[in-house]
């Protein structure tokens, strides 16, 4: 172990870590609402909403994330959008992530007994209110474990941003290795920091599940595994 080398590169690694955290956060914060509306659109009675959403989800779920990322990096500027590397990476990751997350959210909504919809409709409860008060409280406990699992995959996937010139944790670790030829030290540090983020997500998950269980007096499954 060359602690001194680690110390030399720590500021850069730490910066990369912060960028990874920021990128993960922004990507999840943007793709979650998009995924939510995609999931609703896929269930919609209106073909005008259902079709585009279905095509979107199936296309971007089928493509390698890296392809989507390169597309955002190289192609979007061609359409007159001048994006920084971070913005391009965010766009690419959001496009891909929202397609995946939409499926997890949709699965939760689809698992709600159709009788609930019939009962709410027959009572005359408006759709958005029924969604908020009746469908979502039943769908969220079902969606949560796959959602967190997917969120963890998305956090790890931000490493791909290092390939489009974002100086994230992976980029900084790889740079340090290529200069120092000390792969083990820097890989260990990078791994530990990724673990840290995802451990946080796992903690969030069990907190959320405990809250749900308390609220509904229901037993829910244990936390998702951190490492995929």
């Amino acid at each position: 172990m060359r602690i001194d080398l680690l110390m030399d590169y720590w500021p850069a690694i730490w910066n990369g870590f912060l960028i990874t955290v920021l990128l993960s956060f922004v990507v999840l914060a943007l793709s979650t609402p998009i995924a939510f509306f995609l999931a609703l659109a896929r269930q919609s009675q209106f073909a005008m909403l259902r079709w585009p959403a279905t095509v979107y989800v199936n296309v971007f779920r089928a493509l390698p994330v890296l392809i989507v990322l390169y597309f955002a990096f190289y192609a979007l500027p061609q359409f007159g959008m001048s994006l920084s590397a971070f913005q391009a990476a965010t766009a690419g990751l959001v496009i891909a992530s929202s397609a995946y997350l939409a499926e997890d959210i949709r699965a939760g909504l689809a698992a709600v007994d159709p009788g609930q919809r019939q009962a709410a409709t027959a009572l005359g409860i408006p759709y958005w209110r029924a969604l908020r008060r009746i469908y979502l409280p039943q769908a969220i406990p079902i969606s949560l474990p796959p959602y967190i699992t997917r969120a963890i995959i998305i956090v790890k996937g931000t490493a791909l941003a290092s390939l489009v010139a974002v100086n994230d944790l992976t980029a900084e670790a790889v740079r340090a290795i290529s200069i120092t030829y000390r792969p083990y030290e820097f890989l260990a540090v990078a791994a530990a920091l990724y673990l840290l983020i995802n451990a946080l997500l796992a903690v969030l998950q069990s907190l959320a599940e405990r809250r749900i269980a308390l609220k509904h007096g229901r037993v829910v499954a244990g936390p998702a595994t951190v490492v995929q």
Binding site: Q118, A122, G124, I134
Partner: protein, 254 residues
Amino acid sequence: MVEVRNLKKQFGSLVAVEDVSLSVKAGEVFAIIGASGSGKSTILKCINFLEPPTAGEIWVDGRRVGVVQTGGRLRPARASELRLSRAEIGMVFQNFNLFPHFTALQNVIEAPMAVRGLSRRDAVDLAKELLDRVGLGDKFDEHPRRLSGGQQQRVAIARALAMRPKVMLMDEVTSALDPELVEEVLGVMKTLARDGMTMLVVTHEMAFARDVANSVVFVDGGRVVEQGPPSELLRAPQEARTKAFLQRILRTDA
């Protein structure tokens, strides 16, 4: 109170209901009987537009459901207009369909607050009164999974009544119950009938149809085969298909 005129409902190429006309007077209990798949549930669902009819007219309390007339023109009702119609039509389902994350009381107050704009306090007062009326005065704070099927169905009836509906649609509301729980739900329905509630009841309980209904209609293959007071239709059916159906039912009942 409820008029169904030449109702037709098609699912793709399957015609589930064809040329059904029914007339239910205020305060009447109207029983619909028929074999599985004959279209009974579909008729009820068309009345409150849970399933929009393919053709035909639905009238409840003198108002057309699902269609609005503006300046001599007819147009489909908007979602908000449909909700108002539905609020006048209570529905109770075979599988109760209570909201599982709500207590009995929360199940009952949700729609009056959301649709009728009742304050929480008024809604709670109303809900307690109704739950009392269906014999669940001691179960306000129980979640549905802690209640028996019969109790759940009575909560569902209270939930529908909380909208102060003009008519109640009841779709085989005792079919999912253990035999010993059927009576407590039928008892509530009889009380409702006595209090003058207009009800359309899909049922396999022939004794209930005989004792409580004012009118019985037998449907087969999505069409009305025969219609009349229970004393005639159940005792002396005219049509061969009605006879055959009643014989089957009575044999399995015995």
